[in-house]
């Protein structure tokens, strides 16, 4: 018995253990031979003999299972160790591309207003004079209508200079109440360090019954929107002038670079201008045939938002497909 125990204990690998198992527990193994002796044992002793043999078998089985577990574990450890690689060499070959920061900023803006139940509307890039200018109360001699600011086509059409014509198209198509934004591409004839002939705007318009929509409502939503975009900034409204709104205001946020202390980006004023807005001018409603309504409108430049949010220094780099810039946004 002790000898068999020792035999199992001495095994050092799973193959040997298997042959030891056959030798001890197999059909023709040592234990089978012992059990075969049972038939020759006198009946009175049979019970004790069998019991002794069974005890012996279970003791051996226990030792065997323990050994087996030990050896299996050892083998697994060996296998694991043999699979070892230098994992720190990997992870340098990321092939993900990225979304353009201007488009992502636009998405973020759309998300905000869509959540507040603004519809998203679009319109064509090639517009006519009525929709782009006249309906928006831009007087005939307004400087914006001159050749130096607007791209014209030979047939008198033009590239829209703002997303505001989408307001007009939507109002002509739908009945109030209206609550919409119009994100999109716009064009101005300007090309220098801080201007590109194409850029993006998001326009907003809310129209309700007369007396229903006020400047105070506009102030509320723009303050909330700017906090959503820029976090904990101060928001300032300044009276200003746009032909299609009256009263008109420009909206500033406290400079996010210097926190209002004054720096180069904010021209040492502590403020950054980010939005134009106002109460819709009655002449605009007249142009689309709306009566007894009130409304507000606002517009913003997406490039400016993207540049401020991500501290992108160069406007023109946004239109160059420059991977050195884009790969930072993976």
């Amino acid at each position: 018995m002790e000898e068999l125990k020792q035999k199992i204990e001495d095994v050092t690998n799973l193959d040997t253990l298997e042959s030891v198992r056959v030798e001890i527990f197999g059909k023709k193994g040592i234990l089978s031979a012992e059990f075969a002796k049972l038939k020759d044992v006198p009946p009175a002793e049979k019970k004790d003999f069998a019991k002794g043999l069974n005890d012996k078998k279970s003791a051996l089985t226990e030792i065997f299972e323990a050994k087996k577990a030990e050896l299996e574990k050892e083998a697994m450890n060996k296998q694991l160790e043999s699979e070892k690689i230098d994992v720190t060499m990997y992870g340098y070959e990321n092939k993900k591309g990225s979304l353009h920061p201007v488009m992502e900023t636009m998405d973020k803006i759309i998300d905000y207003f869509a959540t507040l139940n603004f519809s998203v509307e679009t319109g064509p890039l090639v517009e006519d004079d009525f929709t782009n200018f006249e309906a928006l109360n831009l007087p005939k001699n307004h400087p914006a209508r001159e050749m130096q600011d607007t791209f014209f086509f030979k047939d008198g059409h033009l590239l829209r200079t703002h997303t505001s014509p989408v307001q007009i198209r939507t109002m002509l198509k739908q009945k109030p109440p209206i609550r919409m934004i119009a994100p999109g591409t716009v064009f101005r004839r300007d090309y220098d360090l801080t201007h590109t002939p194409m850029f993006h705007q998001v326009e907003g318009l809310v129209v309700g019954k007369k007396g229903e929509v006020s400047f105070a409502n506009l102030k509320f939503i723009l303050e909330d929107f700017l906090h959503y975009m820029f976090g904990d900034v101060d928001v300032r409204f300044r009276p200003s002038f746009f032909p299609f709104t009256e009263p008109s205001t420009e909206v500033d946020i406290s400079c996010i670079f210097c926190e209002g202390e004054g720096c180069r980006v904010c021209s040492h004023t502590g403020w950054l201008e980010v939005l134009g807005s106002g109460v819709v001018d009655p002449n605009v409603f007249k142009a689309v045939g709306y009566e007894d309504v009130s409304g507000y409108a606002f517009g913003l430049g997406v490039e400016r938002f993207a540049m401020l949010l991500h501290k992108i220094p160069d406007l023109r780099s946004l239109f160059e497909g420059d991977i050195r810039l884009l790969e930072q946004f993976r």
């Binding site: 340098y92 591309g97 001699n141 194409m198 309700g208 006020s214 002038f241 884009l326």
Partner: protein, 780 residues
């Protein structure tokens, strides 16, 4: 518009208002502050009196001056030519420190001792006034020798540049800005009146006859000045320099000063040039030369177009002895229409007139008389000539509740009335809630209740208006446009996951480049009229040329692997817009690294197509002819989705790759609409095991797989057990001659039961017989 604090002070008492408050108030009433410069004159720079001035014995260009600086008389050597004319000057005494950390010390110049410096304006950090040193006079206040110049508030002034929006014609003058500030600070504006020092006994009627030959929406005032001596004061020169309006002659300085202060358009004519020989009476006619153009004429000669420009020939200058002074006003809408419809050229004063100059022309002319009297000797005509019908104030019916609804704030009626009164509106009460409001003449753009709301709001203060959320009672506004934006975002996300960077390029293109590469271009008659540069002279009809240019730039930046995509608008020759997606992959698909055992891998057709698939979903390729110059004739395909051609994929033609300095490059351009995610209905799932079977056939070596797939799709439609198939392998060698061996793998599965061998066999034999019949395949 640039103003200075001390200049404003002439119309509004600012003594209890500090610069910070002033700055904030300007912004809050809609006069945005562009810049705010507080000029500080360094300590120990004082008023000095030159007692003697002699040529330097050893230097032609230097003078040696004895200067009283209050506590003592010191010798100062000065290099400025005009020091010989000077009496009172600015002296930087020894120990003072000028801007730029310039310390004034005792010095010796060519052997002569010098105790200090006589200063020019720029040496004190002020704008340039004149050539040489500043010659002071008492226009800045009583000159006390030895008094520090920083104590003169007109000298150490605060200069404020305001950005005026187009509707604020009323603030194009110091007086106008002060008027607006008075409303904001609830102060009275200081009134102005002036009587000339010396008036001629002869009435103006003996010298001037003006007759209006037409009606026009404007006013003219004339006065005549006989000049013995005309000098500008130091303050005139200093302020004009502060506000960037300094002119070259004394008379132009005086006109500019009076215009800047009053906002009235002021001109001066040389009276002697207007006289016809010895005739002492000058006849002027006011005539319309066309619908919106009113001219001041002498006979057939145009002297000026009101509000637009003046004939140089008759302009008064510093040599003029008798000067005809003119103050004019013309309705801004009228003059703008006249200039633009007649394409008239115009001068600086037109800018003021076009935005609404000050209509009180009498005030302007009186102010000009005052300027002519300063430091000069002038005699004025005893009376005036005034032309034009008095202007009428616009009347607006104002319902206060309606006005407050625009603002959304409960402001008391008395406060509304008080704000409007302070801005010069006249309020006639109709009932508890309404007024008949008459608009001041200088507010030419206030035409309706919302315009008035703006006036109330800016003076009440936007900061004082409480933000209020709008109550929503409406259906949801999720529309197809919004869903399309979401879908596009999905596509963009997938593209970026498939290693493409999103590019945004101009919707413009170069017509030459589009033509060169065989793309359509806009019909000539629909083309851009005024492109900004030649390279962007048309609207793009493909996204790819722009992406190739972007890729090329990236090569210059040293990028070896360039994958870009863009979703954007393109046009056809009829200039109709559509949306497309374009993809470009150039150079390395993966760079050499430990991942690929240091062997870089270039992008190839198979990999590019696989990446496309992970962006746009399932599609098939059909071989095609090159449809533009970018495409490789033998490595290009139409992209077919749901049986419809939606775009193409191709290797970039090697010649084009050379044009753009690119390595192996693959391109694809696809209509956006068909790849937008679609609604999907799920099919029932089979619970029985699928069987995979491979079949190798021999076909003509130039037969495309697309033909094989068409035949197989036919079977798929009839045979429910055939679930899918795809090419597994292709093989050709000399023995096969003009045939190739094609192995296709089939997935066979039943939705109803486990397949029997017979059933599988039957499907496979159907496949084989179809291929034999339709593409001439034989079993290998």
């Amino acid at each position: 518009m640039i103003v200075t604090r001390s200049w404003l002070q002439e119309y509004i008492d600012l003594s209890d208002i500090d610069n910070d408050t002033l700055y904030k108030t300007f912004n809050s009433i809609g006069l945005e502050v562009d810049s705010f410069v507080e000029h500080k004159i360094p300590a120990k720079v004082v008023v000095g009196e030159i007692l003697e001035c002699e040529k330097h014995p050893d230097a032609d260009k230097l003078n040696v001056c004895q200067v009283n600086t209050g506590s003592e008389t010191v010798q100062i050597v000065c290099g400025a030519k005009n020091v010989v004319d000077a009496k009172y000057v600015a002296v930087a005494t020894v120990g003072s420190v000028l801007p730029g950390d310039f310390k004034i010390k005792k010095a010796k110049l060519r052997g002569q001792e010098s105790f200090g410096m006589i200063c020019s304006s720029t040496e004190l950090g002020l704008p340039e006034l004149e050539d040489g040193i500043m010659i002071l006079d008492d226009s800045i206040g009583e000159l006390v020798v030895g008094k520090e110049l920083n104590e003169y508030e007109k000298f150490a002034d605060t200069v404020i540049e305001l950005e005026l929006t187009a509707n604020r014609g009323d603030c194009q003058s110091v007086h106008g800005v002060a008027r607006d500030l008075c409303a904001a600070f609830k102060k009275e504006i200081k009134s102005f009146d002036y009587e000339p020092k010396s008036k001629s006994i002869i009435g103006i009627a003996k010298q001037l006859n003006v007759s209006a030959k037409c009606e026009f929406p404007g006013l003219l005032d004339y006065s005549i000045a006989t000049i013995e001596e005309l000098n500008s004061t130091f303050l005139e020169r200093l302020r004009l320099a502060f506000v960037d309006a300094k002119k070259d002659t004394v008379i132009d300085d005086k006109l500019a000063y009076a215009t800047h202060e009053s906002g009235v358009v002021l001109r001066a004519y040389d009276y002697d040039k207007l006289r016809n020989g010895e005739d002492s009476l000058v006849h002027l006619n006011i005539e319309k030369s066309s619908d919106y153009v009113v001219e001041v004429k002498s006979g057939d000669t145009t002297l000026s177009i009101i509000g637009v420009e003046q004939n140089d020939e008759f302009k008064a200058d510093d040599s003029s002895k008798i000067v005809l002074l003119e103050a004019s006003y013309i309705d801004p809408d009228f003059v703008v229409e006249g200039v633009s419809s007649n394409k008239l050229k115009s001068d600086d004063l037109y800018y003021i007139a076009s935005r609404g100059s000050e209509p009180d022309v009498t005030y302007g002319l009186k102010l000009l008389q005052k300027r002519f009297d300063e430091a000069s000797s002038v005699e004025f005509s005893s009376s005036w000539v005034s032309i034009g019908e008095p202007l009428k104030r616009r009347k607006i019916a104002l319902n206060v509740d309606e006005l407050l609804a625009v603002i959304g704030q409960d402001i008391s009626k008395s406060e509304v009335a008080s704000i409007l009164t302070s801005l010069g509106f006249e309020m006639d009460r109709v009932d508890d809630n309404s007024y008949r409001v008459s608009v001041p003449l200088h507010c030419h753009d206030i035409k309706n209740i919302q315009d008035i709301a703006e006036e109330v709001m800016r003076i009440y203060g936007i900061d004082n208006i409480e933000s209020k959320p709008m109550v929503l009672k409406e259906k949801n506004r999720i529309n197809s446009t919004y869903l399309a934006f979401k879908a596009k975002r999905d596509i963009r996300q997938r593209a970026s996951s498939a290693s493409f960077y999103e590019a945004v390029t101009y919707t413009f293109a170069s017509r030459e480049l589009l033509t060169k590469y065989g793309f359509e271009v806009l019909y000539e008659s629909l083309e851009l009229l005024n492109p900004i540069v030649n390279e962007l002279n048309t609207m793009r009809t493909t996204l790819l040329v722009n992406l190739l240019e972007a890729a090329s730039r990236n090569v210059k930046y040293g990028k070896k692997s360039i994958a870009l995509f863009e979703l954007g608008t393109v046009f056809n020759s009829k200039r109709e817009e559509s949306q497309r997606a374009a993809f470009i992959y150039s150079g390395l698909e993966s760079r050499a690294s430990v991942v690929n055992f240091a062997k870089a891998k270039k992008i190839d057709f198979a990999t590019f197509v696989e990446k496309l698939g992970s962006v746009i979903g399932e599609f098939k390729l059909e071989s095609c002819e090159a449809e533009n110059g970018l495409m490789h004739p033998f490595v290009s395909a139409s992209i077919i989705k749901d049986g419809v051609k939606i775009g193409f994929v191709s290797k970039l033609h090697p010649e084009v790759a050379k044009d753009f300095d690119l390595d192996d490059t693959f391109i694809a351009e696809i209509d956006l609409e068909p790849i937008m995610p679609k609604h999907i209905n799920a099919k029932p799932l089979s619970n029985f095991q699928a069987v995979t079977k491979d079949l190798s056939i021999l076909v003509d070596s130039n037969l495309s797989f697309y033909e094989v797939s068409k035949a197989l799709n036919g079977i798929k439609e009839e045979e429910a057990l055939l679930k899918d198939f795809y090419p597994l392998d292709i093989y050709s060698d000399e023995k096969l001659g003009d045939k190739k061996s094609l192995t296709v793998r089939f997935d066979i599965q039943s939705d109803l039961a486990t397949l029997s061998d017979e059933e599988i066999e039957s499907v496979m034999s159907k496949i084989l017989s179809t291929l034999e019949a339709e593409v001439g395949a034989t079993i290998r």
